[in-house]
């Protein structure tokens, strides 16, 4: 007999729904892609903004009002790096600690209390964090350190650390939990202490998941706008100390966009900065994706 293929006879209702849902998917995804394409387009067009990449990133200062106007984001990405670095330096150890706590030490009821607590932390809007940081730290810094205005990159970094903490903590907890139970039982069965087990086994086995946690926190920190806008100080000079004011790329965009005329040179410069930020964050996400795949393989091993 000849080969029989399976004719999927679909009802007209099936066919309609399949088409409609595909269109829905297509529409949504297309608009998302449009964002990327549009930002790219708006950043490279415009001959009045024809600086090369190196100058833009490193040499020029941000002085759109000067003659000739100069567009460079050195101060911005340095601020971004410092603030992000600081926040991760604080949030990673704490986040891993909480993750280990949740997966190894905490009794059931504590886990159930911690989970909503972390969700709460993650759910507080950025502007509220900025406000909180302002009324607690900024004002006090003015008295403690004798500063005319308390905003500085230190405060921005600290608050950003708190914002990023729940993401790192829950991803890390997941990573630790996924380490197979039998590995643990084998180790404990040899009579070693918990600290020992952690050091030798857990950290190793959970490594891909931990990388994912860090990458997640990093992406989140890089993209934060409002909190750093309110706390870092918005100065176009390159910061030299932690108590200096800074202006990460996101804050730069937020500050300058309001006063920009469409399609002016500054407009294109802002889009270019946005594009740089977007590329970096996308790159980190590609890395997270790759790590997640390996992470999944590991936990099934």
């Amino acid at each position: 007999m000849t080969q029989h293929s399976f004719t999927k006879t679909m009802d007209w209702s099936d066919r309609t729904v399949k088409t409609l849902s595909f269109l829905a998917l297509g529409t949504g995804v297309s608009f998302l892609l449009l964002v990327i394409v549009f930002v790219l387009q708006e950043s490279s067009l415009g001959s009045s903004f024809s600086t090369n990449l190196f100058d833009f990133l490193v040499r020029h200062a941000w002085a759109p009002m000067a003659t000739p106007p100069s567009y460079g984001i050195l101060h911005a990405w340095i601020s971004t790096l410092v603030i992000t670095g600081l926040s991760l330096a604080l949030a990673i150890p704490m986040g891993f600690g909480i993750g280990l706590f949740l997966s190894e030490v905490a009794p059931r009821w504590v886990q159930q209390v911690m989970q909503p607590a972390l969700e709460l932390l993650a759910g507080i809007p950025a502007v509220v964090y900025g406000f909180f940081g302002y009324v607690t730290l900024v004002r006090n810094f003015e008295t403690w350190f004798d500063m005319p205005a308390g905003e500085c990159i230190l405060i921005a970094g600290v608050i950003l650390a708190v914002m990023v903490l729940p993401f790192i903590a829950s991803t890390a907890a997941e990573a630790f939990r996924s380490v197979a139970q039998d590995l643990r039982e084998m180790a404990y069965g040899l009579g070693v202490t918990q600290f020992y087990v952690t050091r030798r086994i857990l950290l190793q086995k959970a490594l891909p998941g931990l990388f994912a946690a860090v990458a997640l926190g990093l992406a989140r920190a890089l993209g934060e706008t409002l909190a750093v806008l309110m706390l870092a100080g918005n100065s176009v000079a390159v910061p030299r100390s932690l108590l200096d004011r800074g202006q990460p790329i996101t804050a730069l965009l937020a500050t300058e966009l309001g006063e920009t005329m469409a399609h002016s040179a500054k407009y294109h410069a802002l889009f270019a900065s946005g594009f740089v930020l977007m590329i970096v964050v996308l790159g980190i996400n590609v890395m997270i994706w790759i790590l997640k795949q390996r992470f999944l393989e590991h936990s099934h091993a």
Partner: protein, 274 residues
């Protein structure tokens, strides 16, 4: 329709027990071959199932019993990469894998009960009516008639008659399986397929389901896949032995269990081979 059966199956006709009227063939499987992703799973399987008889499909695990069952109501294609490569399944003379056949209509007329019973997220009554509401094959029956009849036939009515509007998820596993049977019966099927219906059940529920099957066979053909030889012996009229994707022997159950022709079948029955 009465068929002139080939002489190959003449032994099947002999000693057919308690069949009112002539033995009518419902399922007629000819040289059926199925492949999963190129890998051959069923090879030229031949079998028949008679109306108002229970056919048990037995054999070691992995021999393709469930696969064969699923070709009989066109649920095979729900598994990705599964294809019928040759042969056909006829049901009352109609080709199931013919070009014009609508799979959904096949599944409406031939219903299947699965191994793991599962309740749809709705009340017991709505579960029973699930297929009926879709196909709208009320056939002059009223809603509560169907619910009561099918639940009675499935042996569940007494236990749930006061709570048919409650969520079905509260039933025990044994009750759920009977609910699944009721649900299948509500569709007014012309044949019932069962894939290891008792393997997830405790002995008491198993006994009830077996009673059910024996009662049901008075109305329609039942084909049941089972790995439990004792069960096959208890409830089936005929047995088909599948080994490694091939149909080795089909015969009246008593005959297969006491005096099988095929050596492999003999080894399996006597427990020499698992």
């Amino acid at each position: 329709m009465t068929f002139q059966l080939e002489t190959t199956y003449s032994r099947v006709l002999e000693g057919v027990r308690q069949v009112p009227g002539p033995a009518v063939s419902t399922f007629d499987i000819h040289d059926l071959s199925v492949a999963f992703n190129g890998r051959s799973v069923l090879r030229k399987v031949n079998a028949i199932a008679l109306d108002r008889h229970v056919l048990a499909i037995i054999g070691p695990s992995g021999s393709g019993k469930s696969t064969l069952l699923r070709t009989m109501n066109r649920t095979l294609e729900l598994t990705p990469d599964a294809r019928v490569t040759s042969g056909d399944v006829l049901f009352k003379g109609e080709r199931l894998y013919g070009n014009g056949t609508d799979a959904r209509l096949v599944r409406k007329r031939i219903c299947m009960v699965h191994q793991k019973p599962v309740a749809f997220p709705m009340s017991i009554a709505e579960n029973v009516l699930f297929g009926v509401r879709f196909h709208k094959n009320w056939n002059g029956r009223r809603k509560d008639e169907i619910i009561q009849n099918c639940l009675e036939n499935a042996g569940l009515w007494d236990e749930v008659k006061d709570r048919v509007s409650e969520p079905a998820s509260r039933l025990s596993v044994g009750q759920l399986q009977r609910l699944c049977i009721a649900r299948a019966l509500a569709n007014d099927p012309e044949a019932l397929l069962m894939d290891e219906p008792c393997s997830a059940l405790d002995p008491v529920s198993t006994a009830r389901v077996e009673e059910l099957i024996v009662a049901l066979k008075r109305q329609l053909p039942v084909v049941i896949v089972t790995h439990n030889l004792a069960q096959a012996r208890r409830i089936s009229d005929q047995s088909l032995f599948l080994y490694d994707g091939q149909s080795l022997e089909q015969d009246v159950t008593e005959r297969i269990f006491t005096d099988p022709r095929n050596g492999r079948v003999h080894d399996f029955i006597t427990g020499k081979v698992g």
